[in-house]
């Protein structure tokens, strides 16, 4: 393969930075069946694990398989799912966003506070503020060239600080008016499935299209694959990064607002550690933390897997709820180690 005529060398070199991006216009290069299976397992392995867990659990625990339980689990998972969607996009560009948990909580409190002026205010106020936090993250990271980990760590503190300031150190709780359209947004349902679930699904659909079918999505992969190469290719790297952190802030704020609508109040203590849950879900879903590869569907399965584990441990009842994080941590190790070896074997074939 490597020792072909010189004419193919530049051709082989040119798409190298984009190797992880979906090369839609060109047919995929030939691969052995083994590597194709490896890729499939890496892409959709979590879905297989998820389905297996659900299947076994439905036989063992009849209460698990009920529609009511499914409704409960999906609503619980939908908020983390929306946050993790933004995180997926950020991680695909090779970045990370630690601020989402604080932004989620801030968005919730702002939404509950603004809900006194009606539906539109309750949605717009948190989106504007949280989007602005994401924008600042993006500008510091993309224009000032600072490490995403540190910038978003600072905004984690800053957003939590703003939240505390806004609620008089957590002493004030803002309530969403009962029977308002905004409360309905969080509590209502279609065929028994809560609005937050439907919104999360719609967002994931949009995210999938954005990532796989638009030039913006391709740019995300290119930036994550190699920021320098993307710059040389003339892609708007800085603008893309700023946009992606803004999106992450917007989604975290939206999830917070939906959560507030669901709970009918802005709760200050939510969202602590949520950034790491979101990162876990993304990683379990097969998105590589080094950037340049990943999918939103994997993240959705990752979130669901975490939610199902939590629900199962509640179902078992005799098990201490602390086992939930032990099992989640175990799954995380198994999945990332398996991914690592699959990726390694794929590269060598």
């Amino acid at each position: 393969m490597n020792k072909t005529t010189p004419a193919t060398v530049p051709a082989a070199k040119a798409p190298a930075p984009l190797k992880s991006a979906p090369s839609r216009p060109e047919p995929r290069p030939e691969r052995s069946t083994g590597s194709r299976i490896g890729e499939l397992v890496q892409r959709q392995g979590v879905l297989a694990v998820l389905l297996t867990v659900i299947l076994i659990a439905s036989f063992v625990y009849p209460t698990f398989a009920s529609l009511d339980n499914a409704r409960g689990v999906t609503v619980q998972a939908s908020f983390l799912a929306i946050v993790a969607l933004g995180m997926t996009l950020v991680i695909i560009t090779g970045g990370i966003d630690l601020s989402v948990g604080s932004v989620f909580a801030l968005g919730g409190v702002l939404a509950a506070w603004a809900s006194q002026w009606g539906f539109l205010a309750a949605l717009l106020v948190p989106l504007v503020v949280c989007g602005a936090i994401g924008l600042v993250n993006g500008v510091l990271i993309a224009r000032a060239n600072m490490a995403p980990f540190i910038v978003t760590l600072a905004s984690l503190l800053a957003a939590r600080g703003m939240l505390l300031a806004f609620t008089d150190e957590g002493a004030t709780t803002y309530l969403v008016p009962k029977d308002s359209a905004f409360a309905e947004l969080g509590q209502g349902s279609v065929w028994g499935f809560g609005h937050p679930v439907l919104i999360a699904l719609a967002l994931f659909g949009a995210g999938g299209v954005l990532l796989q079918r638009t030039s913006f999505g391709q740019t995300l992969f290119a930036v994550g694959g190699s920021s320098d190469a993307a710059t040389l290719m003339g892609l708007p790297v800085a603008r893309t990064k700023i946009l992606v952190y803004t999106l992450s802030g917007l989604l975290a704020g939206l999830a917070g607002a939906l959560n507030a609508a669901r709970l009918s109040s802005g709760v200050t203590i939510v969202g602590v550690g949520m950034e790491l849950d979101a990162i876990s879900a993304v990683v379990i879903g097969g998105t590589l933390l080094i950037g340049g590869a990943g999918s939103v569907s994997g993240t959705l399965w990752g979130v669901l897997l975490l939610a199902v584990i939590q629900n199962l441990i509640n179902q078992i009842g005799s098990l201490n709820s602390s086992y939930q994080s032990v099992v989640s941590g175990g799954f995380l190790i198994v999945v990332v180690v398996a991914q690592r070896y699959l990726a390694r074997s794929r590269r060598t074939t």
Partner: protein, 324 residues
């Protein structure tokens, strides 16, 4: 040659203050001095021996964790599991106190070493990214601690352990003394030992280090074990001071405090250099800043926003220098 030798030491202080390199080198110490000066002038009862001793006791566990974190960051790694490791050590302590103080302490420290060894193995042998490798134990470690403690807070009544937390030697609290000795030991390790130079070399360029025959994998595992043991020690000391083992809340957000102390102290996140004294000063700066704001009746929210601003400023200064 001569101009270069004289350039870093300009005659005028004003010129020195315009040089970003000066801030990266001495900024954190200057900031600690400024905070102390401010308090000497404007805060009542701040510059008293009692208050300063309290501040030091409070910052000691963070310093101990941050020292281990500094070593890990020096290898271009990161350890998110330190808070969970603290909780795990704290949960094990009351379980084994029946066998005596020394076995209990050893088992708690050993738990830290095991956590570190798992992290180190995942990073070096499996080749995972440090964030992912340590995320698993961040998630699982606290759960394990809660499982072992039955999810309950346990009172500690062993007088020897309590002496570790609340005792003092020559007027200096034992906790502070331990943190100080550890800081000196880590500084010695980094500057004077082969292992320390290997850490910095690996952080600077891992593949070059591997090519020049350094035992990269062994050093990496060793560094994560050291970090885990230090986190466990911090967990033991914090438990001793609180006179209760509380695995559900002990060490929460500790990973972020430790990383903050390291970064504000001037250690770059991309490895290759470790500033031990800077790390201590970084932890101290964050602690003093918070205490100052509290003494002036400013709420916690202001402290958090101020901390965020300091982190951004510290990293911005570091960035200026790298681009030169």
């Amino acid at each position: 040659m001569t101009t270069q030798a004289t350039l870093p030491r300009p005659a005028k202080p004003a010129a020195r203050l315009r040089d970003p390199a000066w801030y990266q080198e001495y900024g954190v110490y200057a900031a600690v001095a400024v905070v102390l000066l401010f308090n000497a002038l404007f805060t009542e009862h701040f510059m008293t021996a009692d208050n300063l001793r309290t501040q030091l006791v409070q910052v000691a566990p963070i310093v101990i964790v941050a020292l281990g974190m500094a070593l890990v960051i020096g290898t271009e790694g990161i350890d998110l599991s330190v808070g969970s490791t603290m909780a795990l050590a704290a949960a094990l302590l009351p379980l084994y106190l029946g066998y005596g103080l020394v076995p209990a302490l050893l088992i708690a420290l050993l738990a830290g070493a095991v956590v570190g060894a798992i992290n180190g193995t995942l990073v070096s042998l499996v080749g995972l990214q440090p964030i992912v490798a340590t995320l698993a134990l961040f998630v699982g470690g606290r759960g394990l601690a809660l499982v072992m403690a039955d999810g309950r807070l346990k009172q500690i009544v062993n007088p020897d352990i309590l002496a570790l937390g609340t005792g003092s030697f020559l007027g200096i609290p034992t906790v502070v003394l331990i943190a100080g000795v550890l800081a000196l030991a880590v500084a010695f390790l980094v500057q004077r030992t082969t292992f320390g130079r290997q850490i910095v070399a690996i952080g600077g360029n891992r593949s070059a280090s591997a090519l020049s025959g350094l035992p990269v994998k062994r050093v990496l595992i060793g560094v994560y074990i050291l970090c885990g043991v230090m986190a466990a020690l911090a967990g033991i000391l914090a438990t001793a001071r609180l006179t209760a083992s509380d695995p559900s809340s002990l060490g929460t957000l500790m990973e972020l405090s430790a990383i903050t102390a390291v970064v504000v102290g001037g250690t770059p996140l991309n490895g290759g250099s470790i500033r031990v004294l800077g790390t201590v000063a970084g932890a101290l700066l964050m602690q003093l800043l918070r205490a100052t704001l509290v003494k002036h009746d400013l709420p916690d929210s202001t402290a958090q926003i101020a901390q965020a601003a300091i982190i951004i400023a510290a990293v911005y200064v570091a960035r200026e220098r790298r681009s030169r």
